[in-house]
């Protein structure tokens, strides 16, 4: 027998991770201190100064395919990297504050070369925001059943009517993708995906406020909004299918952000417990506190392997849909528990804006709803059990 020696990261990936960690520590965290604790982004000059460095170091757009100017880092690599990239105040919804680039919705890679060149490539280059519009007022958990937004073909355009809700960045992005019903008789197979340019007549995005004070979601309405037929990604009726594989892969780096922020919160909690004394004894010597931190440590370690295991499968080309749901579900719920305890251990300081904890605490709540709520992921996992 050849006993398995265990997992080790390649020296290249370790080095890459260390560079990202260093940039977060030396550049991003100090720059974050210069803006409001609730700020959405860094100050322009800081952003551009740091981007000049990441671009010079080829640390820009690491996940994008090499032929489109990216680093071609795979799902596992990105999971390792995002665990570092998210470890700062804005990190959960704006990992690295965008200084390592931002990505268009992955479904664009299901499009034609022309669409990729026209939309994905400039976005990758500029690191700008895009939007991804699937949820409707009728419900986000079951898009196949609830999408009512209609698109009717008229010559070489599609005419859109309907409403989307909770669409992050729709008011500020240059473009985005929208999932619409092109055939009401066909259920899941009647949904198609279109690219929408900002400013298209009949497209309106109205931002509203949530517990997450950044990356504002929008109510998006389409009123006789005409979109060129050339803007359809893939074939008519392929909308939901063409993004499944890409969305599955995206869940692992997404989960790694949950892990990164939880680790950062845990580290703060351990440090605070060591130096804070009540009734003459450090908190770190109280079993009530120790158990919170011990449980967090266990969950953090477990999360990492759930993410890695699924990412490996996805990179090998195996079906990793259940693993994606496991990682997403566990990492987002774990994050909620770890942050909650970290806030508790900090007492009053946990809810002040002096620490990133209160922002993480608020944003973590959204992680159990967005990208598929916990219940839906449990449903996916359970379905696989009974198949």
């Amino acid at each position: 027998m050849n006993p398995f020696p265990g997992f080790t990261l390649s020296p290249e990936l370790e080095l890459l991770r260390d560079q990202v960690r260093r940039i977060v520590h030396d550049e991003i965290i100090p720059a974050e201190k210069r803006v409001d604790p609730d700020a959405e982004d860094l100050a322009e000059e800081d952003y551009h100064r740091i981007v000049a460095k990441t671009k010079a170091a080829g640390l820009w757009s690491l996940a994008a395919p090499e032929q489109y100017g990216g680093g071609g880092v795979n799902t596992f690599g990105m999971s390792v990297i995002l665990e570092e990239m998210s470890q700062h105040r804005m990190g959960l919804y704006n990992p690295g504050c965008g200084v390592f680039g931002r990505y268009p919705p992955p479904v664009i890679y299901g499009g034609s070369e022309e669409q990729i060149q026209k939309y994905a490539v400039p976005t990758l280059r500029a690191g700008s925001y895009t939007f991804f519009a699937i949820t409707e007022p009728s419900g986000g958990s079951d898009p196949a059943g609830s999408i009512q937004c209609r698109a009717v073909r008229d010559g070489d355009t599609w005419v859109l009517n309907g409403t989307k809700i909770f669409i992050s960045h729709a008011h500020e992005a240059n473009w985005g993708v929208v999932f619409v019903r092109t055939d009401p008789t066909k259920g899941r197979k009647g949904i198609s995906c279109l690219i929408i340019d900002q400013g298209t007549p009949g497209f309106t995005a109205r931002p509203f406020r949530t517990i997450r004070t950044v990356s504002l979601p929008n109510e998006v309405s389409f009123e006789d909004c005409r979109v060129p037929a050339a803007n359809m990604i893939g074939k008519e009726g392929d909308g939901l299918d063409l993004c499944m594989d890409l969305l599955t892969k995206q869940r692992f780096p997404y989960s790694a952000c949950n892990l990164g922020v939880a680790r950062a919160a845990h580290r703060l909690a351990v440090a605070h417990a060591k130096q804070r004394s009540t009734f003459g004894v450090p908190l770190s010597q109280r079993q009530a506190i120790q158990w919170m931190l011990a449980d967090a440590e266990v969950e953090l370690r477990a999360t990492r392997y759930l993410i890695w295991d699924g990412a490996w499968k996805a990179d090998r080309g195996e079906d990793a849909r259940v693993e994606a749901s496991v990682a997403k579900l566990y990492s987002s719920e774990m994050l909620g528990r770890v942050i909650d305890n970290a806030v508790q251990i900090h007492g009053g300081y946990g809810v002040t804006k002096e620490f990133p904890l209160e922002r993480w605490y608020r944003e973590a709540r959204v992680r159990r709803i967005g990208e598929g709520p916990s219940e839906v992921h449990r449903m996916v996992i359970a379905r696989a059990l009974f198949r």
Partner: protein, 251 residues
């Protein structure tokens, strides 16, 4: 120009350093290691010299256990061309290091040696000076700026000295030790990281170099710095001086 740069593996200055209970060393479990920050500045400077002159070679050298290859890889990922690793498990004093390096210089014949002004672990600040003496080369320590002559045969070095800056010049070859303000080191790039995998790290044993590395220094004991006490405000300078004398016993 061929430049040799020394690289020492040291504990990450960000990590919490704990002294072993018996004072024989520091607790090394869970300590992250990095390139000595001053050596990193030295690597950056060598890379800039090469880039500016449009040619040449940057060779790294490190002495220590096998694990120092991690730091050499990082330096190669920053852009150095190749590396030499002198395998040595035992603790070395500055003179032994200088002697080993002198042998490497004999083999490599670089035109310039760039080193860190000190290593942040033992803060000895003498390897560069000793090496220059052994080689009979000129030295410029605490460098904050370098300017080469047009024919690249000599260099003007601005040094950070007590109370100001001093500029000295010498004809190459020579030894320069880098101070904090010499440059801001670059991040290793993704292409650099990928290329580093294929670059050579040549291993040499101490016996091959035929150097006596017996230590003349013995570390008696390490003690952690005294815990910080709360501050105290005093009314007059005289009161401060009195306290420094009677209480702190430092003057």
């Amino acid at each position: 120009m061929k430049t040799l740069v020394t690289v020492k593996r040291v504990p990450d200055p960000e990590s919490t350093i704990r002294v072993k209970p018996d004072g024989s060393g520091i607790v090394t479990e869970n300590v992250k290691y990095v390139i000595n920050p001053f050596d990193e500045i030295a690597i950056e400077e060598a890379l800039r010299i090469k880039e500016k002159q449009g040619g040449g070679e940057v060779v790294l050298v490190s002495i220590g256990a096998k694990v120092v290859s991690e730091q050499l890889r990082t330096g190669l990922a920053m852009g150095a061309d190749r590396a030499i690793f002198v395998a040595c498990e035992q603790e070395l004093d500055s003179l032994a290091v200088a002697r080993l390096l002198a042998k490497i210089v004999e083999r490599e014949n670089p035109e310039l040696l760039v080193m860190g002004k000190q290593a942040i672990d033992d803060d000895a600040n003498q390897a560069g000076q000793m090496l220059a003496a052994l080689l009979g080369w000129p030295q410029a320590t605490f460098a904050s700026k370098l300017e080469f002559s047009a024919d690249q045969k000599s260099v003007q070095v601005t040094r950070e000295v007590d109370g100001g800056l001093e500029t000295i010049g010498f004809a190459l070859p020579g030894v320069i030790t880098a101070d904090l303000r010499l440059n801001e080191p670059r991040y290793a790039s993704l292409p650099g990281i990928m290329k580093a995998r294929k670059k050579e790290i040549k291993e040499i044993s101490v016996s091959e170099l035929g150097v006596d590395i017996t230590s003349r220094l013995k570390i008696q004991k390490l003690t952690p710095p005294a815990k910080k006490q709360g501050g105290k405000k005093v009314e007059t300078v005289q009161a401060l001086v009195d306290l420094l004398h009677t209480e702190a016993k430092v003057i």
